[in-house]
Symmetry: C2
Subunit: 214 residues, 2 copies
């Protein structure tokens, strides 16, 4: 009797199955990092959660480090795709665009506790800082400069001149980082609704006449 049958390889499903196992491992990694922390994430646990053998996980991703970084890359791409769509959407005016950006930054897809836990883990683990920069710096810079450009338009439209676009965008970005961190600690208080409301209120206070910042 075969207790642990090897997985059946099916050429027709080969590509898909590659993806499935690949993605299953990445999802399992994200879950494990969120539950145990980056330091205590072991290949054995990830493999178990993904329901493949430990040897296989290592074989597929070459090394633990590569598995971890692949998970970061996945989140980074997912995030980038979501805000890029908003910046490229020609149907939006500046205010509508900013509101979409805020809503995206605290959407359940982007700002889930599991995913935030991964971001924060990589931020804070010195060992991964160079890799983090390689994977995310470019996109962080683009996001940051797009925000600033967007706020420049908004300032122009509203005759707001006291705060510079740079100041407003830096404030926004810091707040997002800070709130994400707080979501991890106390998701009850720092609900997505609360965070979005806080940030919209910040903008409402700057652009007083704009009704859409609730």
């Amino acid at each position: 009797m075969n207790i642990n049958p090897k997985k059946i390889s099916n050429p027709q499903l080969k590509e898909q199955e590659f993806s499935i196992n690949h993605q299953k491992l990445i999802d399992a990694t994200i879950e494990t990092i969120a539950k145990r922390g980056l330091a205590d994430t072991t290949i054995a646990q990830v493999a178990k959660k993904a329901m493949v053998s430990q040897g296989y996980a290592n074989f597929r991703f070459k090394s633990k480090e590569n598995l971890l970084l692949s998970s970061l890359k996945f989140l980074s791409d997912e995030y980038k795709n979501s805000w890029q769509k908003i910046f490229e959407d020609n149907n939006l005016d500046p205010v509508g665009r900013i509101i979409k950006i805020i809503e995206n930054d605290f959407s359940s897809k982007i700002a889930s506790r599991n995913k935030i836990a991964v971001w924060v883990s990589f931020y804070s683990e010195v060992k991964f800082r160079p890799s983090y920069l390689t994977i995310c710096q470019k996109q962080d810079e683009i996001y940051s400069s797009q925000m600033e450009k967007l706020i420049k338009e908004l300032n122009f439209l509203t005759d707001q001149t006291f705060l510079t676009p740079r100041e407003i965008s830096e404030t926004y970005l810091s707040m997002v980082d800070g709130l994400w961190q707080r979501i991890l600690f106390d998701p009850k208080i720092y609900s997505h609704v609360f965070c979005k409301g806080l940030i919209k209120k910040y903008f409402k206070n700057i652009y007083t006449d704009e009704k859409r910042f609730v």
Copy 2:
């Protein structure tokens, strides 16, 4: 010939020496966490930096975990002492107090990269969350509520009614967390001067008539 002579115990210096070794180990722990990260901080490295033997470090602090948490406790107390003085200083009016608070949060004593690295490491390492809460939650709550009270006075004095004290203090606290994180990545851009300026500008925008928010 005695290559590694044992440390001489001197009863007159006993108390002091206790403190010295204790503090040397805590300082070494902070440095090591900042340089290597919480996960890769080994007792051997800390002991080496503190110039005591590995066995001694373990003996003194009972366990690695206790050494790490003692370092967090040290920072937590240091931080609390510094803001407590400001809240208790009767010579300050609300605006002066807030300015002192901002300056303290980005002083070189409190917001050094090494110390921020330790805070952020403990924030983000799930394993330490319960211990973090035990050590810091109380003080975090007091800090938060003192801030809110302070801003309530300020709103009252200035007839500012659009933003609630809660909103302003939550925004302030999130920004501080976010900026601290950014100081770790890019201390050139996120200098103490830049961070303080950004936050003062935030307040200046709310309390327009107050000249002291530079």
